[in-house]
Symmetry: C2
Subunit: 143 residues, 2 copies
DNA sequence: CATAAACCTTTCTGTAACTGTAGGGTAAAG
DNA sequence: CTTTACCCTACAGTTACAGAAAGGTTTATG
């Protein structure tokens, strides 16, 4: 089938399919006369697999590993699980960082009048933070 | 002062200082003989301000706005606070997305034996998810 | 049969915020 | 004088595509 149909069935944009071919993830056949890409049913399965793996946050490098495992009958389930556990750890780190940021930003907003004056505690904090307010800055600036 | 010292005092890498000059954020003077960058004390203040604004998650576009407000004596505090409140909203959206991802990934990991067999429920889920497992896929694939 | 719409093709450029590398000039120390 | 540590510019690379230019093909319609 043509690229447009493959895109519709996989839930991915046409440009993404061309990109995935360029980096060797899913390489469809070509029709003889006109050089159009010709995606097989299995190609589309792989594209759908990639779409879902991306949707749960795996980057393309890991998606490639996952797809290789999907295509490999000799895979071991433990290999797959390890990738998922690693991703969970990354997500947890990101969550912690974002929680910390939100806490700082919320403190900033709460300490700020938000009126028409030029005096602004947020600007002051960014210009010269009190350690009690942004304690991690001590660590950062000592590196 | 030279770029190396300015970098050390601001907590930013040398390459970042050159980049910030390239995009017009902080443009130091040049020494006459050798074209070395010559950062003033105020330049370094601005760099430190940028370092902290970046550290709490603002992108460079917003950092530029914040720096402009910092330099502008006619700023209104409310303008600053609005930027912080917007950022908080963004962080909250990201937190929700990450929580959802973590939940899906954790379900995947929990449902998987992680042994030496080739049968893997994670791979199966990515290949053909059950709606109860990845319900958002229904929305995604209908677009 | 002509033509217009809807496909398809390649290639180049751009995104964010830098980092790395190549190839060179300059300054302080021994 | 030489080494070492700076400094400079300019260009390529990173992620995962999206947009646009310029053109070939297929299909539907008049």
């Amino acid at each position: 089938m043509n690229i447009g149909q493959a895109a519709a069935q996989s839930g991915l944009p046409v440009k993404t399919l061309r990109y995935y071919e360029e980096i060797g993830l899913v390489t469809p056949a070509r029709t003889e006369g006109n050089d159009y890409r010709d995606y097989s049913v299995m190609d589309v399965e792989h594209l759908r697999f990639l779409q879902r793996a991306r949707a749960v946050g795996f980057n393309l490098e890991v998606c490639r590993e996952l797809l290789d495992l999907y295509r490999n009958e000799n895979r071991r389930c433990s290999q797959v699980k390890r990738l998922v556990l690693e991703k969970i750890e990354q997500v947890e780190v990101q969550l912690q960082e974002l929680h910390a940021l939100k806490s700082i930003l919320t403190d900033m907003a709460n300490g700020c009048a938000g009126d028409d004056s030029a005096d602004c505690t947020i600007i002051e904090t960014l210009a010269q933070p009190k350690p009690s307010f942004m304690p991690f800055m001590l660590v950062e600036s000592s590196s």
